[in-house]
Structure formats: C-alpha cells, structure tokens
C-alpha cells in the first residue's frame, strides 16, 4: 500500500481506468483490423450479374435463348412481365433444351420435362427449375443477378425480385 499512497487515490483510479479502457479498445481495434483484413476490396470472380438488354427486345411468349450459352439463363417474357430461368436441370445438373414446338423444356439426360414456367411435369427431377433475381438497371436494361436463386417449392417465386413486372 505504500506506493499507492504516493499519488492520491482518485488520480490513480482515473489513470487505472484510462489505461485499461484504452488498452481494451486498442486490442479490440487490432482484432477488428484482422477481421477486416479478411475482406478484400476487390476480388477476382466473374460477375454474377449481367445486363440483358432492354425489355422491349424480348417478345412476349417466347423463350429467349441468347444468354443460355454465356450465362446459363433463359429469359422469358410473358404478358405480365419477365423472369429469368436457370438452365440447370434440378435432377442432375444437365442442361435441358427448349422445344418450341412442344412448348416445353426437355432434359436430354434423363428426359425430365418442364413447362415454360419452369415447373416440372414429367420424368425424374425432384423440383422445378430455379429462377434468378431479375430487376431493371438504372439505364432501363434488364439486370439478372445469378447470386440469388428462387425456388418454387419454397414459395420463393412470390418474391417480387424473382419476377420483373412490366
């Protein structure tokens, strides 16, 4: 106790408090810097979203296959709006074909059939095709975001982002 008496108790306590508080803050700060370090400002990943032209480029009732090869997306315009359908079969990941004459998607691997809406109706496949997030970019083009999927069986097709109302 001898040495504490040399400075008065109050001063000691305020230095004590200040010391520990700033030490704790510095430690927390250093840890959060480490955490922030894990999130780079720029990553080398292919863009998950792409601009798919203007809505009026799409004909109502037609399955548009122009982005199938590059992005794996069908864009389909119906009377009420537009939706983007994944080209990955929910069965085993093959790529179905659009058969315009029969008005259905048919998977060449195991004969899975889907309606134009993406709902499955024949052959093996546990669930409908998935839809991607679709919206209008500020320049008026359609923006398809593949990072967000909507599954019908989860009731996600009611999500306004899964369908672009026009």
């Amino acid at each position: 106790m001898n040495d504490t008496e040399k400075i008065d108790r109050r001063t000691f306590l305020s230095w004590f408090g200040l010391a520990w508080v700033s030490f704790a803050a510095a430690t927390t700060g250093a840890l959060s810097i480490i955490l922030r370090f894990l999130f780079p400002n720029v990553v080398f990943e292919p863009p998950t979203s792409f601009k798919a032209g203007f809505p009026n480029e799409y004909e109502t009732g037609v399955v548009d296959e122009r982005w199938k090869a590059k992005y794996g997306v069908w864009i389909i315009r119906v009377a009420e709006g537009i939706y983007a359908l994944s080209t990955i079969c929910t069965h085993l990941g093959c790529t179905p074909n659009w058969l315009g004459g029969e008005n259905k998607f048919k998977c060449p691997c195991h004969g899975r059939g889907f309606y134009k809406t993406g709902i499955n109706f024949e052959g093996p496949a546990p669930r409908p095709l998935e839809r991607y997030r679709i919206s209008l970019a500020e320049d008026g083009q359609i923006l398809v975001d593949k990072s967000k999927k909507f599954q019908q069986e989860k009731g996600e097709w009611n999500n306004p982002e899964s369908f672009l109302t026009l």
Partner: protein, 360 residues
C-alpha cells in the same frame, strides 16, 4: 440364400429401423454391462460384425463403398471404438465389482506405487509409437490417397459429401436447417463437451474406470458419441447415396431413385389439415403454434424435471448450472425427437419462417 439375406437387410434398413435398433442395442449394453463386457459376448459381437463384413465384402457394391480410400478409416474406427468401448466398460465393471466389495479399484491399488518414467513409460511410448508408425506406413503402402478428376465448379458430384468426420452434421441436415445442423448443434457440441467438467463435479470416479457411480454421465456421453455422432457418420457415409437418398447396405446407388417427399410444416398440419382455415398471412400468427411448442419444450421439462427426477441435481448444481445442463440435454435430445417426429408425422419444420431463414 445370400441374396435373399441381403435383400432382406436392404428392405428392412431405413433410417428409422437402423436408428431405433442402435438405440435398443445401446440400451441393452448399458443395462447389462456385466454380461455385455464378458469375453464371450465381446467375441460374439466381434464375430457377428466380422461375419457381416465378410458377407458384405462379397457384394460388389458394398465392397466399393467400404473400400473407398476415404471410407476405410471409418471401417477401422468401428472396430477400434467398438473394442475400446467394450474394453473400457469391462474395466469399469471390474472396478465396480471391486468397489462393491469394498476393495480399491485396480488403479487405486497401485496409486501410491510410483515407477520411474525412464525407462518404464518412455519405453512403452517408444514401442507404441513405432508400432503406430508401422501401421501408418503399411496403410500408406496398401492404400493410395484418393485423387479424383480436377476440380470442376460447374459439375457437382452426386452425392457431394463433406469429409467423413463431418458427415454426422451433414446427416443432421436431413432433419434440421443448416443453421441448426451446421452451426447451432456443432456449437452446442463443443460447448457441451467443454461444460462437462463443470456440470459433472462428482469427485468419485476420477482417475479410474467405473460405470455404476457415474451411470447417467456415461450413458449420456456414450449416447451422444455412439448414437448421435458415430452412427450418423456411418449412415451418412455408407447409407446415403445420390440426392442424399437412403440406400440399404447392399443396394446399388441409383441416381434415379425417387423417394416421395411428403413432409409438411407444423403450421400446415395445424391450419390446413386439422383446422382447415388456411395459413394466416402474418408469419408470427402462422408460426405461433410451433413457436409456442418450442418454447414450451425449452421451459416446461426443465421446470418439471427440477421438481422431480432432477431434484437432487438441481440442488447440487444451483439454478444457473442446472439450466445450462438441462438446456444442453434438451438440445441433444431434440435431435432424436425431431428424427422421430419426421418419421412418424412427416413433420418438416416445427417453426418455418423462410422470410428470415429461420426454420426449426
């Protein structure tokens, strides 16, 4: 003969039969430890397992799966842990008998005798380490480490499986959402393991094999380890095929197998099937029954138990430790409960709020 036996095994095996029979075997084991740890019983079980594997290995499909390089450790693990469980229990039974007779346990009898580490312990370690090294080298010689085709982010293998030691968690995904199976339960497992010494503070049974004096603790631990961890790993590794469908041990993994998925949420059961009024639009109304059930599950049993079965425990541990203990036990038991609910009622989720990714 063999074929029909295999067919029989295939047709009777399902998650529910396997799980239930495992629980039954486990119950037998802990109820009759003395008989179970006798040498004839041990030999019999060993023989049974060996015969099963012997028969199994004649089946091409079974052989393929069991001898997949990364699955081999699991086969070893069955024998190793089976043996050591039996062995530890046997020692415990011997000690229990000695305690009953008022004799010191085997370990106690020697506790005051100290031996020089060098050479006695060092030597054991040395030889055992060498034997272990030999085992590793032989293993490496006879089994090539797997190397499949180069990684292809666009083609996912069916089934895609996590490393075998996490397959228990992946198997839990069948019954729980990822946030529970993948995050909550592992966290609880780790925390629960850490909490063991702080919840089981009975000094008896420290430093020697025993069973009788520590029955509840050991039963819970063995149940968690064998049934909820090892068994799920075995199921996930050997019995889950494409699309995570269940396959019998001798059933070929056919990617086209279709198993009806007719699971429903509790809210659908109540509002549509039973009340026939349609789902309420607001999520908290819709999920109210489920939320209440879960809350009740977490509140009522602890309260009742504290007054009845766990009265002494409650007294010994105090409110905080008691609630931690009960919470951990409840979460642990929640897994089999949910499994049986699924099997019995096709129950998908008790609480299903996909809006917030919150499903229980």
């Amino acid at each position: 003969m063999l074929e029909s036996f295999k067919n029989f095994l295939n047709s009777v095996s399902s998650p529910v039969t396997i799980f239930t029979s495992a629980v039954l075997v486990f119950a037998l084991f802990v109820t009759f430890p003395r008989q179970a740890t006798s040498k004839p019983a041990g030999l019999a079980v060993l023989l049974l397992v060996l015969v099963f594997f012997g028969i199994g290995l004649t089946d091409e499909h079974f052989r393929t799966i069991v001898s997949t390089p990364d699955n081999v450790p699991i086969v070893g693990l069955i024998f190793l842990f089976g043996y050591f469980t039996w062995y530890a229990m046997r020692k415990a039974v011997i000690n229990d008998r000695r305690i009953e007779k008022g004799e010191p346990t085997v370990e106690q009898a020697e506790t005051n005798e100290k031996v020089l580490v060098f050479p006695y312990l060092i030597f054991i370690e040395f030889v055992v380490a060498l034997a272990y090294a030999v085992m590793l080298v032989l293993w490496s010689i006879f089994l090539k480490a797997p190397l499949e085709e180069p990684a292809n982010p666009t083609v996912s293998p069916n089934p895609s499986k996590a490393p075998w030691y996490f397959l228990g968690l992946q198997e839990m995904l069948v019954y729980f959402d990822p946030w529970i199976a993948g995050v909550l339960l592992p966290t609880f497992i780790i925390l629960g393991l850490c909490a063991i010494p702080y919840l089981d503070r009975d000094p008896a049974g420290s430093g020697y094999y025993s069973f009788k004096g520590r029955k509840p603790v050991i039963i819970v631990y063995l149940f968690g380890f064998w049934i909820l961890w090892i068994l799920l790993i075995l199921t996930g590794t050997f019995l889950r095929g494409p699309n995570w469908n269940f396959f019998g041990p001798f059933e070929v993994w056919d990617v086209h197998k279709v198993v009806p998925l007719v699971n429903v949420n509790l809210s659908e059961l109540i509002f549509i099937k039973w009340l026939g009024v349609g789902l309420p639009k607001l999520w908290f109304l819709r999920e109210a029954p489920g939320i209440l059930t879960v809350l009740a599950y977490l509140v009522i049993p602890p309260a009742i138990l504290a007054k009845t079965v766990f009265k002494n425990v409650f007294k010994k541990l105090g409110a905080v430790r008691y609630s931690i203990l009960v919470m951990l036990l409840l979460v642990m038991v929640a897994l089999p409960i949910k499994m049986y609910l699924r099997w019995a009622f096709n129950l998908k989720y008790l609480v299903a709020i996909p809006e917030f990714f919150f499903n229980i």
